[in-house]
């Protein structure tokens, strides 16, 4: 339904094609010299730490890519609500000059919107009228290496600056008023597969950022930089140099046997040694959550490298496929919890962590950290210890878990995109529901021996979609206190892009076929939809200017799933 044969064919072995994004010498990449063009923002921009701390209660602004440090993507504005959302109309459409995958979460402060595009352009725009102020185009270095599209998920804002990570693995600080680059810091070597697509997080004078590169044999990390001058403050490596073999876990987080040959792995570690930690992957490519009360940073870590060939990386491959808590001031690890040890399916942990409260098994409210997995489960952890309080029922079909990949291909559900891909979830504290954008893409998993290829795509096999099997998406609402599905809405196309929840009892989500929709937060009833003309594969945001609420979402399509490309941010309001 909606996915024709040629499309499916074009999607087969998509991950093997991820390399195709690397280093495309497009017009967008070579133009510009690092300075913004256009006009300065006609007001001064200043975002204090207390405003950033209070973002969850701020109904006028949208100050973090995921709404707040807790990343609930639940916004306090309620002028647009389930009673009137049916009347929602476009207020303006902002067209960028880059027609390519859009994953940006626009930041809105005092009526000014900062949005990004593929290839690291930033636009500063009047959030009420769509009038463009400045436009910054990043000039990429000679080599960029990234899978899955030249994406960018947005800026972070703090003080009078915005911060962006780039495809050539730099972190930039720009003047929010003029777009002038104030400093630029090389995070790591793009030739070795490091790149940036995530929105950084700005907190307490620091900029937190991780890295892409799990398909290229990087050694993952989260780093903290001084927001003032770009000086590196600390690095947490997601792959420890010692002890990455872990506890030789037999079962996954849901107590299913992962069919590891642990004796063979131990023998391999004995004979081959543990030096492979240098290329073991473990990217962190979505924004971390921050608990200011305990000065703790929470994030999930991606897959080990190579994705499918595990023989030469024996052990649990810590801290890949894990949720990790580190100290905000030092980067020192507090705890970790691994979902899938020694992953050979790329069913890693990506969707950003949400901080909230949930009932434990005895009914007591506890502070929790929540993650939606590619596995199709929502995992609820104690925020202080990492203890897994519960995992939800599966949101999408699971079959044949954990069959090992073979040369000719082994079928297992979910496919390697999930479940929940990078798409941020949203949580509504009133309904107690977390809303997750899911995919159903049946795949076969193929393994092939593969030596480290020096920063080139390193899968150790292939993922292939099964052309005869239908693909679809599912917006699922899961109760964090029980782990039960409250409702689900199935969609024609696999969902990627993320969710927004609002105090108007609404949930907003887009689809690759161009539809952007609003649902009743309690029931999942569709209340409104609008056809944007290109894939809506970015998380929506909302804000108020002059007492009027707006909802903004990018419609730029998606490289990874080949949804129709566009170049626009649509902004909606009540008439």
């Amino acid at each position: 339904m909606g996915i024709n044969g040629s499309r499916l064919r074009a999607r087969a072995t998509w991950l093997a094609l991820c390399a195709l994004g690397s280093g495309i010498a497009s017009a967008q990449e070579v133009q510009g010299g690092g300075a913004a063009t256009g006009a300065a923002v006609p007001k001064s921009i200043s975002v204090s730490q207390s405003r950033l701390d209070g973002a969850a209660k701020d109904s006028a602004n949208y100050l973090h890519s995921n709404g707040s440090y807790a990343q609930t993507r639940y916004h306090a504005a309620s002028q647009i609500n389930k009673g009137n959302v049916a009347k929602l109309k476009p207020a303006f459409v902002f067209q960028t000059e880059v027609v390519e995958s859009m994953e940006t979460a626009p930041i809105v402060v005092d009526g000014i919107m900062y949005l990004t595009t593929s290839y690291n352009h930033i636009y500063a725009v009047d959030a009420k009228t769509g009038k463009e102020f400045w436009h910054y185009k990043h000039k990429q270095g000679p080599v960029t290496t990234y899978c899955c599209g030249p994406n960018n998920r947005g800026v972070a804002i703090m003080g009078d600056r915005v911060y962006m990570g780039t495809l050539d693995a730099k972190l930039l600080a720009l003047d929010a008023k003029t777009g002038k680059v104030l400093w630029s810091q090389q995070i790591d070597d793009p030739e070795k597969g490091y790149s940036e697509t995530m929105a950084p997080v700005a907190v307490n004078g620091k900029i937190l950022i991780g890295t892409n590169g799990g398909e290229y044999g990087i050694r993952g990390f989260v780093k903290a930089y001084d927001a003032n001058d770009g000086k590196l403050l600390w690095t947490f490596y997601t792959i420890p140099d010692k002890g990455h073999e872990g506890v030789w876990a037999v079962n996954d987080a849901t107590n299913r046997n992962m069919l590891r040959d642990i004796n063979a792995e131990k023998a391999q570690l004995q004979s081959g040694g543990g030096d492979f930690y240098k290329t073991l992957g473990g990217g962190v490519w979505m924004a971390p959550a921050v608990d200011k009360e305990t000065n703790t940073v929470f994030f999930v870590v991606g897959n080990p490298s190579p994705d499918l060939y595990g023989k030469e990386r024996p052990g649990d491959n810590l801290y890949t496929d894990s949720i990790v808590a580190v100290d905000l001031n030092t980067g020192e690890k507090k705890w970790h919890y691994q979902y899938v040890a020694h992953d050979v399916w790329d069913l890693d942990a990506v969707s950003p962590v949400i901080l909230t409260e949930a009932k434990d098994k005895s009914g007591k409210m506890r502070k929790v950290a929540v993650h939606g997995g590619k596995t199709g489960h929502v995992y609820v952890h104690d925020r202080a210890t990492g203890e897994l309080i519960r995992f939800s029922e599966a949101m999408v079909p699971q079959e044949n878990m954990w069959v090992l990949p073979t040369q000719s291909g082994a079928r297992m559900l979910p496919g390697a995109n999930g479940g929940v891909e990078w798409s941020p979830m949203a949580f509504n504290p009133k309904t107690r529901l977390v809303y997750a954008a899911n995919l159903h893409q049946p795949m076969t998993y193929h393994v092939e021996e593969a030596k480290y290829p020096g920063g080139k795509l390193w899968l150790g096999g292939a993922f292939k979609v099964i052309p005869s099997e239908k693909q679809w998406g599912r917006l699922a609402a899961v109760n964090v206190d029980t782990g039960k599905l409250a409702w689900k809405v199935d969609t024609e196309q696999p969902l990627i892009g993320g969710v927004l929840a609002t105090a108007g009892d609404l949930v907003f989500n887009g689809e690759g076929n161009g539809y952007f929709r609003a649902f009743d937060a309690a029931t999942g009833k569709k209340l409104w939809e609008f056809q944007c003309g290109a894939g809506v594969n970015a998380p929506a945001v909302t804000y108020m200017v002059g007492g009027k609420q707006y909802v903004a979402v990018a419609a730029g399509g998606n490289t990874q799933l080949d949804f129709k490309r566009g170049n626009s941010v649509f902004v909606f309001a009540l008439p």
Partner: protein
């Protein structure tokens, strides 16, 4: 208006950058032409033509020869002495050269079988429509027959592994006849 001069400067710099590689051969290019032909069109058919190849691919292959992920008695020692900047300059230069018509006379019947096998194997998903290549995936349209067949055999037999096994996986199901047919098809493009 401060923005206009800056814009013109950026444009001039861009045009200069685009024009430069095609015009002047970098000094180290003299090392290449004996085997790869003047302007990168190799007349010794077991060697690849470099003209029109993607810069990204050429650069990565030089780096792989240097770091022993790909090995060849001629190429390895040459690459060992190149700096990264020299590699980039060579890659940009040969990428900007025009591919000459292929002297190899492809057998139409074999080329037809080769095309059918290419379609079945989904080659263009990585090598792109027209086999023009992109990024780290090489252009193979119009490439020398002997070179193409040798590479396919080397991938299949794991003598060449610097693509991390993607082509090994693909060539696993190719017979000798398939490889030869593909060689005819690609040389004729």
């Amino acid at each position: 208006m401060r923005t206009i001069p800056r814009w013109i400067c950026a444009l001039c710099a861009l045009l200069a950058a685009l024009a430069a590689p095609a015009q002047t051969a970098p000094p180290k290019a003299a090392l290449c032409v004996a085997c790869h032909g003047s302007n990168g069109n190799a007349t010794i058919a077991v060697n690849p033509s470099l003209a029109g190849q993607t810069a990204r691919y050429l650069y990565l292959q030089l780096r792989d020869f240097q770091e022993d992920r790909r090995s060849d008695p001629q190429m390895t020692p040459i690459a060992k002495d190149l700096t990264r900047d020299e590699m980039r300059a060579l890659a940009d230069y040969f990428a900007a050269q025009k591919p000459a018509p292929q002297p190899f006379k492809a057998d139409p019947a074999k080329a037809k079988l080769g095309k059918a096998k290419a379609d079945e194997t989904l080659c263009t998903m990585c090598h792109l429509g027209g086999f023009a290549g992109q990024n780290e995936i090489p252009r193979v349209a119009g490439q020398n027959y002997d070179y193409v067949v040798k590479q396919l055999r080397d991938f299949k037999d794991k003598r060449r592994t610097n693509d991390a096994g993607n082509m090994t996986s693909v060539s696993r199901t190719l017979s000798d006849a398939d490889m030869e047919n593909l060689g005819h098809f690609l040389a004729g493009l």
